[in-house]
C-alpha cells in the first residue's frame, strides 16, 4: 500500500497574475477580477464561450485547471479526480442571489445565478470541458489545509479511485481571490508531502 506519489505541476492565480510551475505566464495590473479573467482567457487562447456564463469562482478555478490539464499532456479519458477547497464556498454568488430576493419590489431570483450558489459547480464546469467522469469533492476550511488535502488525495490514488488528482485551493470572496491548484500522480517533480504542498502554496 506504500507507493510514493508526486506533484507533477502547479499553478497560482492571485493579484492579477498567473504563474505556472513557478514562472509568471500572465499579468494584467489595475483591473478588476472580471477583466483580468477575460485577459487571461484571451492570452491562453481558450476557445470556450461557456466561460462567459460562469460565475467568478468558476472562472478562477476553470482558468487554473485549464492551464494544468493542457500542460500536463493529459489524455481525455484519464481518470483525474478533482479535490478543491476554500474558505468562502460560493459566497460571492450567494450574495448576488440574496440581493435578488431581499426586497419585495425587486424580487427576481434567476436560475442562472442560483445554480452557481454551490462551490462544487466550478468542478462541474471543469469536468465538462475536459470530459472528466471522475470524483469531485469540495472541502471548506478556515485556511489552506495541506494535511487533509494530502490524506484525501493519497486515499483516492492508493485505493484506485483515480489515477491522478487535481487538487488545491480556489478562493474568491468579493475582490479578493487566490487559486492554487496542483496535479498529483505517480510521477512528477516534487514528492507529494504536506511540507512540499505548503511550500508551493506559499511561493507564488
Amino acid at each position: 500500500m506504500t507507493q510514493e506519489l508526486f506533484i507533477a505541476s502547479h499553478c497560482h492565480i492571485s493579484n492579477n497574475m498567473v504563474s505556472l510551475n513557478g514562472t509568471t505566464v500572465h499579468e494584467q495590473k489595475g483591473t478588476d477580477f472580471v477583466s483580468f479573467a477575460k485577459s487571461a482567457y484571451k492570452k491562453f487562447d481558450i476557445d470556450y464561450s461557456k466561460f462567459f456564463k460562469m460565475d467568478n469562482l468558476s472562472k478562477l478555478a476553470f482558468l487554473a485547471a485549464d492551464l494544468l490539464l493542457k500542460d500536463d499532456n493529459i489524455k481525455e479519458k484519464q481518470n483525474i479526480a478533482l479535490v478543491f477547497s476554500n474558505r468562502a464556498a460560493s459566497l460571492d454568488t450567494d450574495r448576488r442571489h440574496q440581493e435578488s430576493i431581499s426586497k419585495n419590489d425587486s424580487y427576481f431570483p434567476s436560475p442562472a445565478v442560483f445554480v452557481y450558489t454551490l462551490p462544487n459547480i466550478c468542478m462541474g464546469e471543469i469536468s465538462i470541458k475536459h470530459k472528466l467522469h471522475s470524483e469531485n469533492a469540495f472541502f471548506i476550511f478556515e485556511k489552506f489545509n495541506a494535511q487533509y488535502l494530502h490524506t484525501y488525495t493519497e486515499s483516492l490514488i492508493l485505493e484506485k479511485k483515480a489515477e491522478k488528482v487535481l487538487c488545491g485551493w480556489t478562493e474568491l470572496d468579493g475582490e479578493k481571490y487566490k487559486a492554487f491548484l496542483y496535479v498529483v500522480g505517480k510521477s512528477g517533480i516534487f514528492t507529494h508531502s504536506t511540507h512540499q504542498i505548503t511550500r508551493l502554496y506559499q511561493n507564488k
Binding site: M1, L82, R87, A88, A89, L91, D94, R95, H97, Q98, I101, S102, Y107, P109, S110, P111, F114, V115, T117, L118, P119, N120, I121, M123, G124, E125, S127, I128, H130, K131, L132, H133, S134, E135, N136, A137, F138, F139, I140, F141, E142, N145, Y148, T151, Y152, E154, S155, L156, E159, K161
Partner: protein
C-alpha cells in the same frame, strides 16, 4: 485493511428528535411533509418538512449553551450529541468530525438575522460545533451539492483507512430558507403538494430540513443494533451539464458499477436501492436509465423524498440511516407518493411497506454540478 462500519445514528426532523421517531412514522407510511403559507419564505404556498423552532429551542436549552447559536448549529449539535453520548467515545485526537451541508447558515445573510455576517462562513459554523461538543480536531466541512451527505460517509471511511482517524462522527444538515426555496422556484421545480417520485402525475420537488448524524468506525466494539459495513463506494461526474442530469445517466451508472465492483457483488446481491428520487422528470428518468444500464431494474427501490422532502446536504446521510433501520428490521419501506409508472424504463418501485429478508442495499444520490455517488452497505453482525 480495516473494515469500516456505520453505527450509532440520530435524525432531528419534523417527526421528532431521534431516529426511532422518524423510523416509526415511515413504517406506518406517514409523511413528515406539510403545506405552508409563509410569505417570509416564499410568496406562494409551498410543501416542505420543517423542524419546529419551539421544540428545537427547548431541546437545545437543556444543553446549557453559553452563547446564541443558529438554527442549523442547534440541529447539528443535538444530532451529534445524541450519538456521542450513546457511543461513549472519548473525543480525543483520533476522532474526526465531518459536516455535510450545501448552504449551512445561509439564513444569516437575511437582513433580520441577529448574527454577524461572519457566521455564514461554513468553517465558522464548523468551529462553533467543534467547540460546543469538545472535538479536538477541526471540522472537515464538505459542500458538494446534493451528494454531500452520502459522499461524507465515503470520505469518513477513507480517512479511517488512511489511518488518520479511528472514529469519525458525520453530521449533515440544511434548512428550509427563502434563499433555497426562491432558487428552486426560479427553476420551476417546486411542488406545492407532497412530492411523488417516479410517478406519472408528479408535480415537482419539496424541500425538507433535517439534521442527521452517524458514527463511522473501524471498532467492532462500537457497533449497535443498526450497524452496517461500508462495502464499496464511488463518485463519478456526468461531465455533461451543471444543472441537468445526463440523459444517459452516465455518472450515476459509472458510480453504481464501480461501487458494486469494489464491494465484489453483482446486481443479484442488492436487496434494495435507496435512490435519490427527487420527483423532477429529468432526475427520475435519468435514474431509471442508469439503474437499467447497471442491471438493477428488478431490485426493489424507494425514494424517501415523500417522507422528508429533499433535505439537500443531509439527504444522502439521512436516507442511508433509514436504510440501516430497514435492513435490521427486514422491512422494505414504501416509496411514498408513487401511484403509476412515470419513467420510460422499468423499475421495481416499493408500493407498500412489507417484510423481506434483507442484507445488502445501495444508496445513490445525484446533484447539481453533475455529481453522483453510490455506496453499498451490508448488515453487520451484532
Amino acid at each position: 485493511m480495516d473494515r469500516t462500519y456505520l453505527s450509532y445514528n440520530s435524525i432531528i426532523s419534523s417527526y421528532g428528535f431521534d431516529s426511532p421517531s422518524a423510523i416509526e412514522s415511515i413504517k406506518k407510511e406517514v409523511s413528515g411533509l406539510q403545506v405552508f403559507e409563509d410569505k417570509a419564505i416564499l410568496p406562494d404556498r409551498f410543501c416542505a418538512s420543517r423542524i419546529s423552532n419551539d421544540k428545537l429551542d427547548k431541546a437545545f436549552d437543556r444543553m446549557r449553551p453559553k452563547e446564541p447559536h443558529t438554527k442549523l448549529e442547534k440541529v447539528l449539535i443535538l444530532a451529534l450529541e445524541n450519538i456521542i453520548s450513546a457511543s461513549g467515545i472519548e473525543l480525543n485526537e483520533r476522532v474526526g468530525l465531518i459536516l455535510s451541508t450545501t448552504k449551512g447558515n445561509i439564513d444569516v445573510l437575511q437582513e433580520n438575522s441577529p448574527f454577524d455576517e461572519n457566521r455564514v462562513y461554513l468553517s465558522e459554523m464548523g468551529r462553533k460545533i467543534k467547540n460546543f461538543l469538545g472535538f479536538q480536531n477541526d471540522a472537515i466541512v464538505l459542500s458538494n451539492a446534493c451528494v454531500s451527505g452520502i459522499l461524507a460517509i465515503a470520505m469518513a471511511k477513507r480517512f479511517i483507512r488512511q489511518g488518520r482517524f479511528d472514529h469519525v462522527f458525520v453530521a449533515g444538515g440544511d434548512l428550509v430558507t427563502k434563499f433555497i426555496l426562491s432558487g428552486f422556484n426560479a427553476f420551476q421545480a417546486l411542488s406545492d403538494q407532497p412530492c411523488r417520485p417516479y410517478c406519472k402525475t408528479r408535480s415537482g420537488i419539496n424541500i425538507g430540513e433535517v439534521g442527521a448524524s452517524a458514527l463511522v468506525t473501524k471498532d467492532i466494539a462500537k457497533l449497535d443494533d443498526t450497524s452496517v459495513e461500508i462495502l464499496g463506494e464511488s463518485s463519478c461526474n456526468d461531465a455533461n451539464h451543471i444543472s441537468g442530469p445526463s440523459r444517459t445517466g452516465e455518472g450515476l451508472y459509472r458510480s453504481v458499477i464501480s461501487a458494486m465492483g469494489q464491494a465484489q457483488i453483482s446486481p443479484m446481491d442488492i436487496d434494495f436501492i435507496s435512490a435519490h428520487g427527487t420527483a423532477t422528470p429529468f432526475n427520475d428518468e435519468m435514474e431509471a436509465i442508469a439503474f437499467n444500464r447497471a442491471g438493477l431494474q428488478n431490485a426493489p427501490l424507494n425514494s424517501l423524498k415523500g417522507y422528508f422532502g429533499h433535505t439537500l446536504g443531509a439527504s444522502g446521510l439521512l436516507e442511508t440511516i433509514v436504510g440501516m433501520h430497514s435492513l435490521h428490521s427486514n422491512t422494505l419501506y414504501a416509496s411514498k407518493g408513487f401511484r403509476e409508472m412515470g419513467v420510460s424504463k422499468p423499475l421495481n418501485i416499493i408500493e407498500k411497506t412489507k417484510s423481506a429478508a434483507l442484507n445488502t442495499f445501495i444508496k445513490t444520490a445525484s446533484g447539481f454540478g453533475g455529481c453522483n455517488t453510490a455506496v453499498v452497505f451490508r448488515k453487520a453482525a451484532v
